[in-house]
Subunit: 245 residues, 6 copies
């Protein structure tokens, strides 16, 4: 059985990670998982939020948003509606937690890094693309901060790498990296965030149609770990390129 776009069940979509997409941000990436495109910027500021002042520790947070016409039907802007929706809140929090999992706050010192992940075009997996791209923007921002001596010499604020992928069961078959058409048909849908060494940072599985059994969960986790590992290689490759700015 092959998928809509001819992939095998355990195959990622074509992934691109373009660094240096903004001339202003300390780190910036345009990441694409197939037709899903997310623009990630990392902004460094000296100082931390009030509740953290004097702790000697830094802070990393994230904001996710969709442009109104990122999807097939135009959605209202949250700025126009005057409030942020639950889905946006939920994903922003997920991205922030995922990146903080590989941050050593002490090593970062009292600096704040904000990751903005704006979805320019959506085709499933926007949150996992966002995490995967934001990690690369974050890494660049930390290098920048080290260059400016905002981070003390010899300190390494990044303790590992992090990437994310969606998995799901469609027509009884576990699939890696769902496109939108697959996502809406999935019986079970799971987003998994892993470190480069294959451990879990976040596991979020949801029964969309039917509750799922333990062995289904296991197959999905297997797929996800292998997908995240592959993404970690692509992140490394992107970061190894010399960035001209």
């Amino acid at each position: 059985m092959s998928r809509i776009d001819g992939r095998t069940p355990e195959q990622l979509r074509p992934v691109t990670i373009e660094r240096g997409w903004s001339k202003h941000a300390e780190g910036s990436v345009l990441v694409s998982f197939g037709d899903t495109k997310v623009f990630c910027t990392a902004s460094v500021t000296e100082g931390v939020p009030r509740w953290r002042k004097g702790s000697g520790e830094g802070w990393v947070t994230a904001e996710y948003s969709m442009l109104p016409r990122a999807t097939n039907t135009r959605g209202d802007r949250e700025s126009v509606r005057g409030k942020i929706g639950g889905r946006t809140h939920e994903i922003s929090r997920l991205i922030g937690r995922s990146l903080r999992a590989v941050i050593d706050y002490k090593a970062l010192g009292e600096n704040t890094i904000v990751l903005d992940c704006d979805v320019l075009q959506a085709d499933g997996g926007t949150r996992t693309a966002a995490i995967t791209g934001a990690y690369v923007a974050l890494a660049d921002a930390i290098t920048w901060a080290q260059g400016r001596k905002l981070v003390k010499a010899g300190r390494r604020p990044l303790t590992g790498t992090v990437s994310a992928v969606s998995v799901g069961i469609v027509d009884g078959v576990p699939l890696l990296d769902l496109r939108y058409e697959e996502d809406v048909r999935a019986e079970t849908d799971m987003n998994v965030v892993c470190t480069g060494d294959g451990r879990f940072v976040e596991v979020q599985g949801t029964a969309e149609a039917e509750p799922f059994a333990r062995d289904e969960l296991n197959s999905l986790l297997d797929l996800a770990v292998s997908g995240c590992t592959e993404l970690a290689v692509l992140q490394r490759k992107a970061l190894d390129t010399v960035l001209e700015k």
Copy 2:
């Protein structure tokens, strides 16, 4: 090694499920998991939201909230701040999805049931207590709707039962049903929602301090399934009692 309150790692806190706590609501429950107390009401209205009209299908949704002094330090009211926080949004969505997992929309017909879960006192596990209690309020509300012929004779809108519990790793030991003091110290924190037959509806695991390995995940899932099964028995027992109103 014993826990703060003397429990073994795989032991739930004392759980109470009091039905009929409101004279107005079609279903209502005061649920407690130890010192965590959540007041759940189920409100039935004929009709469905606009986007679902004419479908012949019903809708179930949930709203979670904490009273300002449910916690040790008073928090601002979200109504006063004029917006709902990300955590509240996230949990409301989780409760709604969890209950919808055991609903047959066709059988429910064009009726809407709203579950309100208001935390009167918090001591860890408020979202899992809310799901567990809301299920019972939902069941009562459906019985009420059947009595009023809002649901057609012979239709069974509930396709199963649902309960939830938190699990986590504290000092390297997997524990069931964390109290607040345990929750803040947990290296990994997971909320699991299961059906009465032991399948998964939601699995949400988060690395708080360290990424977690596959075998840790497995131990946590084992604990959670056994906890949910035990809760399902308590829900059944509560529902079997004749409710005088």
Copy 3:
């Protein structure tokens, strides 16, 4: 003529005042006037709002809210609507003013006490039950603050007691402590807040159907004063009980 629930015109509903209902709050009460149940917590914090800093004086304020299904028909949450309604604002302000009437700010010192009054179930008289219960929670909170030496030895921040009751004219007959069914039928509706020695703190009378004459006003005030006096005795009795915590 007897009332729906068999009371005489000058009779209160059964009143209960349960202290210690929260393990977190410095004072907490579940008060019921018949089927009206309000959960009141008093939260003490050191310091005062900015506009009062350095004055040596404390502050007491209140927030009132209804759970969405406290009433017969579910109401939208004010947090979801993003704004507080006029009725909520009005009652919160009334409760705050009523309690401040028996506070000596100097004796309280630069401490703030917030009274949260959340209506769990409504059947008329929620604001008067809230004031009556909040007074008891406030008294407990002040005792707590004295125990912690937040209030200087020998200072007595409470200068009196305060309780409240509704009165109204239904079918030409002045009635004490209206239930919801009576309230909606009342020609005139009045809420009266008194000190324990029978003086007035607030008098709010509204002609619902017909303007009312001076002698009707006088009958209502007579009823209200006697009701408040009775409530003051119940408050005293509740506070005289030793609270095990």
Copy 4:
């Protein structure tokens, strides 16, 4: 003892009621109680709010607001803050209730009248001036509606007249129609709304410093009734003038 501005305790400030102050509104009045100036407009629209459709009955409502520099110190605009304060809400509701007390909804038919009361300059008694002026604007608007046949021939939507005044106890002396300087010093503060025949529509008394006794309440009510009666004469006189437009 004479007052700051030389009045006797039972004397109103100079009152002016100028009709026809807006060329757009169906009724409009600039009312002044001394230095307090409120601009009141009455806007008539055919139809009623959704919850009242098909009832054959009309609706009257009011919105009160202060210009930012109506007071001695500039206040933030509520539109800029994005929410309406409790005081504004409370007064808007009071004005609406007061005017509805003299409206026969059936006679008005399915028409809505909105009273806007904007305080141009404040010097105490803004809500009572607003009610007194809004009544006159309302009367003009109803005459307009009758002229346009929006109100059926022979129907009289106005069942009486309404006016309002503040009273208070300052240094132990009951005073009528308080200026700002008196208002801030008042031990007890009361707003009273009466019909032209001396019955009560609203009585709102508040102990600012000390709880007040029954005989103090009685003196205040005496003063208020006489003040309202005097205002009713001034309203009548204003309405008797032929308005050139």
Copy 5:
């Protein structure tokens, strides 16, 4: 061809500028351009917004608003809707920029002046009347600040005068100072803000129906400059009157 109200194309409506309309504000003006009436107050406070502290420079800003029934049909209050509309924002910013064009921030010192322009009645040209009136209120406020020594002796914060007028092409004819009926029929609509010496502070032209040609633009600018010059004379005359307060 004569206009609705008999004016020639290059004629202003009757303009009145009444100073001292508020007893509280440091400067206040009721300005009318025909039936357009705007109440302008200037409020002086010591200190500047945070981002300007320590600069030694002052700040001038403006807020424009329409009363709900300033227009022919009642509009919702922005405070009730909870947000400020685009038109209000745009005009507030225009007024602020226009007045800042004649302010020497250094000479003003660290003081802030807020101009509130509230439209009591609208008949076209509310923003130009607001600017013209606000200038006079601003001048009075600066004189007040000089009298209180908030502005250092010998410093002149006002570097010139500013007035504004609308122009437009109606049925092919360029007209000065449009009334509402003319404004809605205009093919091109322009607001021009000039200094007293005939230079431009703001030029905002909009094609309402048809794009406009360079020579049409030139005719409109000619008209506008002559109108602004005339208004500057009226401002001077108003300011030369001795104001009794």
Copy 6:
């Protein structure tokens, strides 16, 4: 004298107009004026807003927004602040008016087109780039609507072309198409929107430092018209390319 980037005063920055940047939107363009990059999408929906229903006429509107890190310093998201700022409102309205100037509503029929202009990177002239790019997206959307028969055969909703450019006086020299560094130093700043035949749709000039004289205004208008004409050629060229999708 040459400019920072070596341009002559009357030279545009390199302009690119890439069509087909979104797979979802009916028209989409990534436009760049030098380092300023704006992503424009045009979304077509059948039907019109309520106030226009039954008129047989269509509607075109626009929303402008900046990504938080489009600028050198990160700005707060308007969705997070819960309200839209004045600048955003002002520019959204300008874009909408500019495009409506070349729309024949009757020919468009009861369809709505929303232009979303999101600034990915800002370096001066974001509103003029937005208008210039949005016009191209609009043209594509109309072609799409004609293909789907939403627009009746033979009707031409677009009556002309529209482009925009900024001009300003820096150090006394009139310059075309200001970069950010030039913009902040400009004494006078002007945005001009022209049709392809050189007539004006919008002229917005602001004195930033000094009021400007008529001849300065004339030089700026000359520059702007020539810039807009050049942009119209580039728009035509972009639209003449066959778009593969």
